[in-house]
């Protein structure tokens, strides 16, 4: 996370080697992503079955349980079998889309995750779009007027918001607006079922969670955009653009920003994990019924099958998004394509 702030910026990792064909590049990236998914699957197993902590003991911590109950639970989770067999059963289940049964909700984990994916996509989608737009705009402006009062103020605010923990900003917003916005959930139960009222109610519920997510996430985009544009500003072609009589604004928009955008976009996707982390805390603070809140409910149980499921889904989603970014980068950057 901290390297976002460090403008030492390594070159974007997505550059293909010269002579490597588009197909080979894509194959390479897809292979890498598949390997990552495999590692997530193995990690998901190791974390919850093979670590020194005893799953049954973890799940029954602080509750009075009899020996029969423990044996029953072990049999239900398949923990009474040897580890290799457990792993094969786990793999087989995964391939069939079976992540086991949630301990607290008593429904299949996949069903619970399916219910919660929509709200998270809505929250994270709207939040990320707003954060990227705000961050890129502020970053471009402060780089162009480097050292100005605007730059200093914008960078200072970004650093401060970046330093504050997500959940605290959420709590503050909740406390400061004092009941102006709903404190939790996605809709009121008594809202009419027609689309318009539901949409308006959802939007009303979304204001604070989205605001919190944007406040925490936009800073990294701004700082990366700023440092990448500052580097771009010494480029010779900008001098040419000025020499041919373009206005300052045009030079920035047409010649400087597009070039600075590329490394920024790559970094944005590379740090998507941060958005996921933000979603977990924001959803917890605002009881937003998404995957983040589900993770919180799972860790409170602790409901290990459910936690394993959310771990695999959230980590897998980030890997897939990264792959998408890598492939997109190739399409977007003509310099990579031409080589």
């Amino acid at each position: 996370m901290s390297d976002v702030l460090a403008p030492t910026g390594e070159p974007p990792p997505a550059r293909a080697r010269r002579g490597g064909g588009a197909a080979r590049y894509a194959l390479n990236k897809v292979g890498g992503a598949l390997l990552s998914v495999a590692m997530i699957v193995v990690l998901g197993f190791l974390l919850f079955r093979a670590l020194p902590g005893d799953p049954v003991q973890t799940m029954t911590r602080g509750r009075p349980v009899s020996a029969e109950q423990i044996a029953e639970l072990q049999a239900r989770l398949g923990l009474d079998r040897p580890l290799p067999e457990q792993f094969l059963r786990y793999l087989g289940g995964l391939l069939r889309g079976d992540l086991g049964v949630s301990y607290t909700f008593n429904v299949p984990v996949t069903q619970k995750i399916g219910e919660r994916i929509g709200p998270t996509l809505l929250l994270v989608g709207v939040g990320t779009v707003l954060a990227v737009a705000l961050g890129l705009w502020l970053g471009a402006r402060s780089a162009w007027r480097r050292g100005s009062r605007f730059d200093k103020a914008a960078t200072g605010i970004a650093l401060t918001l970046w330093s504050a923990p997500t959940f605290w900003l959420g709590l503050l917003l909740l406390s400061a607006t004092g009941g102006l916005f709903p404190s939790g959930g996605i809709t009121y139960p008594d809202t009419p079922p027609d689309f318009l009222s539901q949409a308006l109610d959802t939007a009303h519920h979304m204001v604070l969670p989205v605001l919190t997510l944007v406040a925490v996430v936009y800073a990294q985009y701004q700082l990366v955009m700023r440092s990448s544009l500052v580097e771009e500003m010494t480029a010779d072609h900008l001098l040419t653009a000025r020499a041919k009589g373009l206005r300052d604004d045009q030079v920035r928009r047409r010649h400087a920003v597009p070039n600075a955008l590329l490394p920024t976009v790559t970094l944005v996707f590379l740090h998507l994990g941060l958005v996921v982390s933000g979603a977990i805390t924001v959803e917890t603070v605002f009881s937003w019924p998404g995957l983040g809140l589900l993770t919180y409910e799972a860790l409170r149980g602790p409901d290990l099958p459910l936690l394993q499921g959310t771990f695999i889904v959230l980590a897998g989603a980030v890997v897939v998004m990264n792959l998408a970014a890598d492939l997109l980068y190739r399409v977007l950057d003509p310099r990579v394509r031409a080589s």
């Binding site: 901290s2 702030l5 990552s36 504050a164 805390t281 860790l299 980030v318």
Partner: protein
């Protein structure tokens, strides 16, 4: 000494350093300047969620304890966890980066593959999983943060190791018969350390935020006072809806302040050690 003079040219870096010295001093001296008895719920003297007054400068929590006292003591756990977790993650990252950068080959490729994997993985999700399956406690939190935050350091160290390794004096040392351990320890490491130092300073802030987040989610040590745990108690006791800002603001401001101080110091250090970033 010239590095220090260069550092003092960064006003924000000096502010950050000053703030850090003050906060660390308060945290270390907390047992001397305050009475730890006030931390015990049974010996609390105030009322429930009292606003700030002459007796309780920052009001009281839901158990009638002084929020100022809790915030002061909370600094101890937050700083301790932040520093130890960073130490752990930087150590792992430095070793992985050095090995991958110095030796190269298949082993390095495999190491970097694992690093990239952990770099992409949402660290909070992994940290939550780790601290849920292991026993609750400060040690677990340190482990969970340390084991999830090392990859960026590893990448940075590897890149720097590759740069340093290309320099002629490394080749000379090898030609004179220096073994791997000698070359790494005497020649590569000193070239990499400044960068590691900067990265450490920047990483402490991240670790402190991670600690507070895990504590807020209820994964911290329930017997210790920390800023994250305070905010958890505040939100659990209805302080948010009751408008008890004196309970919400101090711990969060403390986290943000410490993190900002570390970040400012790190950025100033960075521009001292990396002349390319110096403002014209």
């Amino acid at each position: 000494m010239s590095a220090w003079r260069e550092y003092t040219r960064h006003r924000t870096g000096l502010v950050g350093l000053g703030a850090l010295v003050l906060i660390v001093a308060l945290a270390v001296l907390a047992p001397l300047i305050t009475d730890p008895q006030g931390l015990e719920v049974t010996k609390a003297t105030g009322g429930r969620l009292e606003p700030p007054s002459g007796q309780f400068w920052l009001g009281t929590d839901e158990n009638g304890r002084s929020v100022l006292l809790l915030t002061l003591w909370g600094a101890r756990v937050s700083l301790l966890v932040g520093l130890s977790a960073t130490l752990l993650s930087i150590s792992i990252g430095t070793v992985v980066g050095l090995v991958a950068g110095h030796f190269g080959g298949l082993a390095a490729a495999a190491l970097m593959r694992v690093t990239d994997f952990f770099l992409v993985l949402p660290s909070l999700v992994l940290a939550i999983a780790l601290s849920t399956v292991l026993d609750r406690g400060v040690g677990t939190i340190v482990l969970a943060i340390g084991l999830t935050s090392w990859p960026s350091a590893a990448r940075l160290v590897r890149a720097q190791t590759l740069t340093v390794s290309a320099r002629p004096y490394i080749e000379r040392s090898r030609a004179l018969g220096g073994g791997h351990l000698h070359v790494i320890g005497r020649h590569v490491l000193p070239g990499v350390l400044p960068l590691v130092f900067v990265n450490t300073t920047l990483a402490v802030g991240t670790a402190i935020v991670a600690e507070s987040t895990l504590s807020f989610l209820g994964l911290g040590d329930p017997t210790e006072v920390s800023w994250g745990a305070m905010l958890r108690a505040a939100s659990g006791s209805g302080a948010v809806t009751a408008g008890a800002w004196w309970y919400l603001v101090p711990p969060g401001l403390a986290i943000a302040g410490v993190v900002l101080a570390f970040t400012l110091c790190g950025r100033a250090l960075e521009s001292v050690l990396n002349p390319r970033l110096r403002e014209p």
